[in-house]
Symmetry: C2
Subunit: 189 residues, 2 copies
């Protein structure tokens, strides 16, 4: 693809992600994406073919961004598993406190598509969550946690629980409680 | 209200809940609810006034049903906190394994309405989750758990985490891992 086509593709992906995240994946149509990206619907279809294909591309793009972001985040982090857990849930609470925070994109997507288990976007969300869990296990292993895969799954459960309960209650006490629980679970017994 | 109006009201509530749950709260219109309940849209509006008022009534109705169901569930239960936690997550995994399971209604609703923090349905969902957490604290206190409110919040985080990850992965291993974590957290230290 020529350079300008790449740029257009990227603009569509960024615009679509922003809209999908802001207004829900089901409610946003390709018309709105094209309009906000400043292109015709035809150009959008030239790049992506269908709303489902666009959604799949947006999710893959966002998955890559998110993993790169957590790698950079982890690289700046000093200390052991306790410090990592504190930072993880403190950042989660900080993120959730933003004025227009609307929860975790991938989890919301799966809930919006709950009646469509075979939807291709569901498979991408599954891979995304599995990659985060795997990343957590590696981080815990590096910090000499015993049974890092089991502990990573528990931290993952507490993370997902916090995401839901922060959105429901708007109370960072849930992130703090999750951090305390995660540290107790991770501590060597 | 005369008896037949009561019956109509209840039929609308049950039909609406079924449709909202099956297809998502945003996607289902009042036309579909009226059609499935076998009434005119005018009758539906006579009873509920608006889609938001209908949604609020459906949620309150479902909240009452759900609390009555968990009270009956707890009354049948023998044993201590460990046994309760095992039963809780085993039943969750069993529920999630049903062919058309589509996650937890209240959590999905909040995620679908993530961009509308002031929506009246969000307040009902919040009350529902707070009532479940309160109920868990009472159950744990009856079973001589130390700091039952703190422990109830942790079990709640693991429950919400399981609900999300069971829907995402379709793997009951997440409910089993959550049960093991909850028991370790609840055990007296």
């Amino acid at each position: 693809m020529p350079r300008s086509a790449d740029a257009t593709r990227r603009r569509i992906l960024e615009t679509a992600y922003e809209l999908f995240y802001r207004r829900g994946f089901v409610r946003v149509g390709v018309d709105a994406v094209a309009e906000h990206a400043g292109i015709t619907k035809r150009t959008l279809y030239d790049h992506f073919g269908s709303k489902d294909a666009l959604l799949a591309a947006v999710l893959t793009f966002h998955h890559d961004l998110a993993l790169a972001r957590i790698e950079r985040w982890a690289a700046r982090l000093a200390g052991g598993a306790d410090a990592m857990i504190d930072a993880l849930f403190a950042d989660l609470a900080h993120w959730a406190a933003r004025p227009r925070w609307e929860g975790a994109g991938f989890t919301r997507l799966v809930m919006e598509l709950a009646d469509l288990p075979g939807h291709p976007a569901r498979a991408i969300a599954r891979r995304h969550k599995a990659a985060i869990e795997q990343w957590l296990a590696e981080q815990l292993a590096m910090r000499r946690t015993r049974d890092p895969r089991d502990r990573a799954r528990e931290v993952m459960l507490l993370l997902e629980g916090s995401l839901a309960l922060l959105l429901i209650h708007g109370d960072r006490g849930y992130a703090d409680a999750a951090a305390r629980a995660a540290k107790r679970l991770v501590r060597r017994r």
